[in-house]
């Protein structure tokens, strides 16, 4: 994997007329895993969207080198389509070819014919992880990746993150749940609340 990094300096985030947090800085490079903690509503998801470049920070800079993959609460899979077809739209865009291998790995191989709207929260989360694996992104931004997952699913996500970081990827995980990461670094947003 090529050299990639994600740095943020002195980020402040405003939603509506309320400043959620200010002064957040972080620096990650190949192989890093960072766990962003904080209570509900403190701005974890907003920070993830700022890091992804989807939301402009109120102040501060984000510098990214490398492509970004995001998993959040919305799976971005067409609800009317069978899972396999919904995933293949993204694999087509990402020009990935190994979709079935990831489906096996994530335990959704039997679900490929089931329309996405019939899937459970955890199954959709697994599907979103399959979409992320196919994307071959340099940086993973995972927003509450453990929500709705069973214990096996949690272990699987932890293993995937460990493998990914071992190959040089950057993983940033926003979660209020404990998660086992390789070389764990944590950032608690509580200290930055405005």
């Amino acid at each position: 994997m090529q050299a990639c990094s994600l740095s943020a300096t002195d980020i402040a985030c405003r939603r509506g007329d309320r400043v959620l947090f200010r002064g957040v800085s972080l620096h990650t490079t190949n192989g890093d895993a960072l766990h962003i903690k904080g209570a509900n509503g403190i701005g974890k998801s907003s920070l993830m969207r700022i890091l992804a470049g989807l939301l402009a920070p109120f102040s501060g800079d984000v510098i990214r080198t490398g492509s970004v993959g995001l998993v959040d609460e919305r799976p971005a899979l067409d609800t009317q389509l069978p899972l396999g077809k919904a995933l293949s739209f993204w694999t087509g865009l990402d020009s990935a070819s190994t979709k079935t291998a990831h489906a096996d790995r994530l335990g959704i191989a039997e679900l490929l014919d089931v329309p996405v709207r019939y899937l459970s929260t955890g199954q959709k989360k697994r599907a979103a992880m399959a979409r992320l694996l196919n994307q071959n992104a340099d940086i993973w931004l995972l927003d509450e990746p453990l929500n709705g997952l069973d214990t096996g699913g949690v272990q699987l996500v932890e293993t995937l993150i460990a493998e990914y970081c071992a190959t040089g990827g950057i993983a940033i995980i926003a979660s209020h749940q404990p998660i086992t990461l390789p070389a764990p670094a944590t950032l608690d947003l509580r200290g930055f609340a405005a």
Binding site: A52, G53, L54, L55, A56, S67, V68, G69, L70, D72, R74, P75, A76, L77, D78, T79, Q80, L81, F89, W90, G92, L93, D94, R131, Q135, A137
Partner: protein, 217 residues
């Protein structure tokens, strides 16, 4: 990449598409053309004189029906976010969606104009003007529709609002498109086509900006 986006949009929006309700605009259009003679009575000269205008109004109202399904579902699903992360701009996605939206109702509306014209007893020349006018005007209607769908996607009650917003924006198309019927000549249709081109050029950027604004909200 454009082809993949278009394929997905078409499978969603084309008649029989998986979003459902894709035939409704055309059925609505035909229903108006069918009801009008019942309402004004069997006065053939009156029907022939006003029928072209009725077809135009019916087409405009039919274009309102699919608006709430054009942008909002993808915004809710986070599809635009995932596309943006892959470097595909909202403007591009909106441009493709305008094409798909037009393909899903434009050609079908033109075909449905023939039975509608028969129901209203229109003359051959008038039918030709209506068809040409609709061909020139419906791409503009599609661009307005997607633009408004993008603007109202994040709002509650967006569906009703988008209908109200489309009507004033579509008035120029209606004036020149239906106005050519009264004069019986092509100059109005040319202007109608010019407005369509203008809307097609502006639509992707306006729609893309609206989607980016919805993301900030």
């Amino acid at each position: 990449m454009i082809w993949q986006l278009l394929k997905r949009d078409l499978s969603m929006l084309l008649p029989g598409g998986r979003q459902g309700g894709t035939m409704l605009p055309v059925l609505f259009f035909l229903a108006v053309a069918m009801l009008y003679p019942f309402a004004v009575g069997p006065d053939a000269p009156l029907l022939a004189r006003t029928g072209g205008g009725v077809i135009w109004v019916a087409a405009l109202l039919a274009a309102i029906l699919p608006l709430d399904r054009l942008i909002a579902p993808d915004l809710d699903l986070g599809v635009f976010d995932q596309l943006a992360l892959r470097g595909i701009s909202e403007d591009m996605v909106v441009a493709v969606r305008i094409i798909a939206h037009w393909l899903s109702f434009g050609p079908l509306l033109l075909v449905a104009t023939l039975p509608a014209a028969a129901l209203l007893g229109l003359e051959g020349d008038t039918v030709k003007l209506v068809l040409l006018g609709l061909l020139a005007g419906t791409p503009g209607l599609a661009a307005i529709g997607v633009m408004i769908a993008a603007l109202t996607a994040g709002l509650r009650g967006g569906a009703a609002l988008s209908g109200l917003m489309l009507i004033p924006l579509a008035v120029p198309i209606l004036i020149f498109g239906a106005g050519s019927l009264a004069r019986g000549e092509m100059s109005g249709i040319a202007l109608c086509g010019a407005i369509s081109l203008l809307l097609l050029a502006a639509g992707p950027f306006a729609g893309g900006a609206a989607i980016r604004a919805a993301r900030e909200g």
